[in-house]
Symmetry: C2
């Protein structure tokens, strides 16, 4: 069984070695550009990790793992157009560096390339793997649409938020693991349990992201701490705060949300103070930990060597303790 | 063997019977809307026709045929954003009726749905079918990019133009037929020949489109006759005219191309007069017919019952005689 770091390195090397056609350059340069921006390569590493868990051959999982990374970056390329995001990993987004048309079409090609890599699996599991991949892709798109719809709503319930992050973030974590499990010849039950492990861990992962956005160390976080507060992003923290805040706290919170002209630092500090008063950080961490615990229970049920499972436990542990 | 009309009716009925999830409605309503706008359903009918050619069961080809129609409409949805097109089949385009983000994401989901329908084929041909489908999808995207690049160029060569329409239009005609052939258990050679038939016919199809855009009957064409002339679209007709026109004709042609303030009818008539003087219509029709002839030669080589082949010959005949 390989360590997470080893698997990430394998992916990173394979991404670096991937070449694209030279022409039309407007299609292929943006793919190479975005793939080279880096990222933690966690999703593709999960494909390898799942194959490894069942003592499968991780060489068989490399193409599908790259397919997952290509797919993930395709969704980023399109999401960044929709979100009008100027930066991705500190560099200009594709639509900002080229234009919207390039980002749309280059993204489409990237999606096809993902399928091309995914169909490299053995014929006997091809249909099952593609079923997981298609369901994952549809879930991610639905999650992105629901997230965009939240922007136009005043009130979002906690349950709706959890369903949105399940679709937008967690199904891909589950899908990546399930695909790796199928490649490793896992039984259907084990593959399904590993999917559940991934989905629950994915929700925990996103909750941790939301917590770090408010409470992260600016020197370690990599993005602007407080970004979600500044943009009134309807995360678990804000939704729960709006539910629990009373009296002057509620008035102050609503004041900051509706204010269009403000000092960013002042708003971040004021909202964080309200969060602190009503214990939002603690609530968020407890929810995140409860999803992690459910994930670990899912892992428990899987028939695989204990020493192999420990890598996935370490991974879960790493996710909830990470600082960026 | 079914007639083209019968096959189109089968597709039309299946498209009408297809339902989509209700939520998120911004994702699924645009798919249902665009698919209901109609069109000739030629590409999916070709999948069925190819299966039928080899006496395969067309029921096995219905899902893949719908996949081809979904894929074609997905490319239209995204192309219309890039082309800033306000209308599609006389109705508002998806990005015009909703917005760009909806058209991007709904298109992405449509593409996944196409894959979902495509993987319904028998497991033993799944890998081959997906290889054709992926290659087709990449070709179509490359063609669209090259077409967009042409807009920013002063000179385009005839060969470059033919390669662009091969990718943008013809590979999907070939791909649809090849997928149908695989479903009908055709030999590799027959499937490849049918692909070539489709690709050559697809080029002829696009050339006929270009001719109709200039010489079509306004009452039958369905789009504005002269649209390509008004927008200086680099079709075979314009490229060839720029190559052949001399003296005052060339000066007049360049004058109309560079003029930004003009009366549309006057420009269309003037450019058409130049085309007529140098015999562009005749040249275009001869090129179109020569591609059709190559296609028929490809068909000739295929081992299939003569009476079945005649439906494909009728189809080729219909394409080059069509008025819309």
């Amino acid at each position: 069984m390989h360590s997470i770091q080893q698997l990430q390195n394998i992916i990173d090397k394979a991404v670096k070695e991937t070449t694209y056609p030279l022409e039309p350059k407007e299609l292929y340069q943006p793919i190479a550009y975005l793939m080279a921006l880096g990222g933690k390569r966690l999703r593709p590493a999960l494909v390898l990790m799942a194959t490894d868990l069942f003592n499968g051959n991780i060489d068989d999982a490399l193409s599908p793992a790259l397919a997952v990374e290509l797919f993930h970056n395709f969704t980023l390329m399109h999401d960044d157009i929709m979100d009008k995001a100027p930066l991705r990993r500190g560099q200009p987004t594709v639509h900002a560096k080229w234009n919207d048309s390039v980002a749309i079409l280059s993204g489409d090609v990237m999606f096809v390339k993902a399928y091309k890599m995914m169909i490299q699996v053995k014929p006997e599991i091809l249909s099952d793997v593609l079923e997981v991949f298609n369901a994952t892709a549809i879930g991610v798109c639905e999650g992105q649409q629901i997230d965009m719809n939240f922007e136009n709503r005043d009130i979002v319930e906690v349950d709706e938020y959890l369903e949105m992050i399940r679709l937008k973030t967690a199904v891909l974590v589950g899908g990546a693991l399930k695909i790796g499990a199928l490649i490793g010849n896992a039984s259907k039950t084990d593959a399904d349990n590993l999917y559940q492990f991934g989905e629950n861990l994915g929700i925990a992962f996103q909750l941790q992201d939301d917590i770090l956005d408010v409470y992260g160390d600016p020197l370690k976080f990599g993005k602007q701490v407080g970004g979600d507060i500044i943009s009134n992003k309807k995360t678990f923290l804000l939704i729960k705060a709006l539910e629990l805040a009373k009296g002057d706290d509620l008035i102050a919170l609503k004041h900051w949300i509706t204010k269009t002209d403000f000092n960013a630092e002042e708003k971040v500090n004021a909202v964080r103070n309200i969060y602190d008063k009503i214990g939002i950080r603690d609530l968020s961490e407890r929810l995140m930990q409860s999803y992690t615990q459910i994930a670990l229970n899912n892992l428990e049920k899987i028939k695989a060597p204990a020493e192999n499972k420990s890598v996935l436990m370490d991974f879960a542990d790493m996710l909830i303790k990470r600082e960026n």
